[in-house]
């Protein structure tokens, strides 16, 4: 039931782009994205509800493909502050009322 994230780790230079994928074998109601910096609490980035929406602002955005049960997080023109581990959390259809998180993707942005 745990969503699968890919890739597991990415190293970028400042200004490069990255895509983080999250896929589930179960029908999803929503997908949530969080970022965790080393030694800190995960921080909420955004929620996507079923309906295939895309949201975010110009540099960090995400999409949700309901048919494929997949979500992708897009990081454009990465900054040093983007470094951290990105987790997707999935809420299954039927209202499980809790998030099941993937194992995370570690992003390192170097100068």
């Amino acid at each position: 039931q745990q969503p699968v994230q890919s890739p597991q780790a990415v190293i970028l230079r400042e200004g490069e782009d990255a895509v983080i994928n999250c896929s589930s074998s179960k029908a999803l109601y929503s997908v949530h994205w969080y970022r965790q910096k080393h030694g800190e609490a995960p921080v909420f980035l955004m929620i996507l509800l079923k309906g295939g929406e895309q949201k975010g602002h110009e540099k960090i955005s995400a999409s949700f493909n309901e048919k494929k049960q997949q979500s992708s997080l897009y990081l454009t023109a990465s900054q040093l502050s983007y470094s951290g581990t990105y987790f997707c959390g999935t809420e299954f259809q039927g209202g499980s009322e809790k998030l099941v998180f993937g194992k995370g993707m570690k992003l390192t942005v170097n100068p």
């Binding site: 609490a41 909420f44 929620i47 809790k98």
Partner: protein
Amino acid sequence: GAGVSQSPSNKVTEKGKDVELRCDPISGHTALYWYRQRLGQGLEFLIYFQGNSAPDKSGLPSDRFSAERTGESVSTLTIQRTQQEDSAVYLCASSLGGPAWGYTFGSGTRLTVV
């Protein structure tokens, strides 16, 4: 409060001892969640509360783990007869009503069982 507060921030205990971890959610948040994060791993669901009832305890690893919540405020996670495999960061999160509102996480309690 302004955020989710967890205490202690660090706890070292001897194998076999009981420990109690505390979570103070954001005022007004009815939903409260406990997750466990082992070193380098993802977030493993333990239990969630809606008010002071726990509709889903499915993630508790064994009967050594228990949790309770007083009204819509403080929650405590108790681990009895701790084992070395219990070593992890225990994260608490609260939400206004459920996942649709997003979670706010506390900084966690780092538990080390020696």
